[in-house]
């Protein structure tokens, strides 16, 4: 029982992080129809910058309890790069998607060296922030409280995005644009502002994800290219462009991975790709995607 809890807890934690990155991917795809290969780079940037932010906070004497808000804030601050990258992507909106994909691939290459320039080749880690938050103990079950906080933060963000899309005016306009771009533009939606905002929001989801997870992990230069693959698995399973898809897809990938690691470790990543392929054979548009062809 305890073992099962640990396994599920580990899987959900992984899913929580994947969800944030995949949600950013979905948001941008939904509106701009661009698949952003650089989503992993934003995540890595968030992780590196988060480390610097916490180190700064330590130096400034910020109490440890506030490290989590500091991390989230550092991720949000990084959103500032969103409009600039969007301005670059704007040059290829009306082009073949090969160009869009390649432009984001170029960003992946460039970001890797930008990160190296600022933070060096060494993987960066935060001493021991996570354990400052202690452990939670429920009977025989014990786990790090920080992981639970990350899961909770992810859920709050998921609910926040849901409410934002459903309840706010901007959210409604955003959904309308995703639904029918021409119509929305004809109705006077300011495309520039809309695209820049959406892309910035997508960036923030990635950078916050990276910042949140870094106390339990490390920031390394290989992170971006590794994460892109898992995020793609999530959105393909869930269905491109669907927020619910990102959530369910992340859970499937996270739990599949945890289960594979526990019961047949050799299958770790293979299991995920197999799910991707099975889903695509039987539900080509993914679980929540709109029909494509």
């Amino acid at each position: 029982m305890t073992a099962l809890f640990d396994i599920v807890f580990g899987g959900v934690f992984h899913a929580a992080v994947l969800f944030l990155v995949a949600a950013g991917l979905q948001l941008v795809f939904g509106v701009q129809k661009i698949v952003n290969l650089a989503c992993g780079s934003f995540y890595a940037l968030g992780a590196y910058f988060g480390i610097s932010a916490v180190n700064w906070a330590i130096a400034a004497g910020v109490p440890p309890v506030l490290f989590l808000p500091v991390l989230i804030l550092s991720g949000i601050v990084l959103g500032a790069i969103g409009p600039f990258i969007e301005a670059l992507l704007r040059t290829v909106y009306d082009r073949d998607e090969a160009f869009q994909l390649l432009l984001t691939f170029a960003l992946v290459l460039m970001f890797q060296d930008v990160l190296r320039y600022f933070w060096g080749a060494n993987p960066q880690q935060l001493g021991d922030i996570a354990s400052l938050y202690g452990s939670i103990q429920l009977g025989a079950v014990k786990g790090p409280a920080y992981n639970l906080l990350v899961i909770l933060a992810s859920i709050v963000i998921a609910l926040g995005i849901g409410a934002f899309l459903q309840k706010t005016n901007f959210g409604r306009i955003l959904r309308a644009t995703a639904e029918n771009r021409e119509m929305a533009l004809a109705l006077g939606v300011n495309a520039r502002v809309m695209y820049a905002s959406v892309f910035t929001l997508g960036t923030i989801l990635g950078t916050v994800g990276g910042a949140l997870v870094v106390p339990t992990a490390a920031a390394s230069l290989d992170m971006p290219v590794e994460l892109v693959v898992e995020s793609f698995a999530v959105v393909v399973i869930g269905g491109l462009g669907s927020m619910r898809g990102a959530l369910v897809g992340a859970l499937i990938v996270g739990l599949m991975r945890a289960a594979a690691i526990s019961w047949y470790a050799e299958l770790e990543m293979l299991a995920i790709y197999l799910v991707v392929i099975i889903v695509l054979v039987f539900r080509p548009a993914g679980l929540f995607g709109k029909a494509v062809e």
């Binding site: 290829v92 090969a98 170029a106 060296d113 050799e266 293979l270 494509v292």
Partner: protein, 319 residues
């Protein structure tokens, strides 16, 4: 126009054949991978440029070619490079068919993501199934014989920059000619039609999915041939070859040269290899400059280097 292309091709081939007497051995060992990528890109661009399907997983077939050469040479003791090329190519086609069956139902970005997933599936397989594939270290690739001749008196470098180089340039010429015929054949015409307007081409009787499947298989064959050459040049087949960023490099090369033109990807392959090698020698931040180059090409010169060349040519002729 036709004669101009002919003259250009002959001049390029003559240059390639003359290079070993001009350039140092090191540069010839760089031209070799460029030739390998040029062959792979001929195939890749049948799918990308002519059929309009952007694969982000074609490194898979380059890897199949490399591992084919590795398994055949070091595990099964097959020396004949001709046999290695044929069998690796056949293996790539066999691997391509199931992937293509699933993928050609899709277009655009969905096709790209699906091929990426398959590429990574293969990468995981290479990595995890350590006992069969050698895991991260991969498998050694032994020096092959060319037309039954083992060139035992030559050391590895002399073999690579000598007979093997000429062999590969010859292979590029032959496979280039074959691809030229394919894209100008009725089959090629139908591929282009399906790229331009799928529905319309179907109403004109073009069997779009079937033709795409064939194009996919042909491209896999070419990529495997390129992969086998690369593997012999390196002496090793390793899982990195199947990683998605390697697929990204293939796309990079095609766009750099200009995928709308038959010769664009070939120009792209040569430019990319030399650009990357020079940048790596100049700065540790070569990835940044490579990425920046790609952005400049994508944003300002979407028709690639060949497009730039064509524009200059027409401008000069107008004057």
């Amino acid at each position: 126009m036709k004669t101009a292309v002919g003259v250009f091709v002959l001049a390029a081939l003559a240059t390639l054949f003359a290079l070993p007497s001009v350039l140092s051995a090191y540069y010839i060992t760089l031209v070799l991978p460029a030739v390998a990528y040029a062959i792979a890109l001929l195939g890749f661009n049948l799918l990308f440029g002519y059929t309009g399907l952007l694969s982000f997983g074609h490194a898979l077939y380059v890897a199949v070619g490399a591992y084919g050469a590795a398994v055949l040479s070091s595990k099964l003791g097959i020396k004949s490079f001709e046999l290695v090329l044929l069998l690796s190519g056949a293996a790539a086609v066999a691997a391509a068919i199931p992937v293509a069956l699933l993928s050609v139902r899709y277009e655009k970005i969905f096709f790209g993501i699906l091929t990426l997933a398959f590429g990574m599936l293969f990468h995981s397989f290479l990595f995890k199934f350590y006992d069969i594939t050698g895991g991260d270290t991969g498998i050694r690739v032994l020096r092959p014989s060319l037309f039954g001749n083992e060139f035992k008196d030559l050391d590895k470098t002399a073999f690579l920059v000598g007979p093997f180089y000429y062999y590969c340039v010859g292979l590029l010429a032959i496979l280039g000619f074959v691809m030229w015929r394919i894209v100008h054949s009725p089959f090629g015409l139908h591929l282009v039609a399906s790229r331009e307007n799928r529905r319309k081409s179907e109403y004109l009787g073009v069997r779009v999915r079937f033709f795409r499947l064939i194009a996919f298989s042909i491209s896999a064959f070419y990529c495997a041939v390129g992969g086998a050459i690369l593997a012999i040049n390196t002496g090793q087949a390793d899982p990195e070859l199947a990683y998605w960023t390697h697929s990204g490099e293939l796309v990079f090369m095609a766009v750099l040269g200009g995928f709308a033109n038959f010769f664009g990807p070939l120009v792209g392959a040569f430019t990319f290899i030399f650009l990357k090698s020079e940048l790596m020698g100049l700065t540790q931040f070569w990835r940044f400059w490579l990425g920046l180059t790609l952005i400049v090409i994508v944003v300002l010169f979407p028709r690639g280097l060949v497009g730039v060349g064509q524009d200059l040519w027409t401008r000069l002729h107008k004057r």
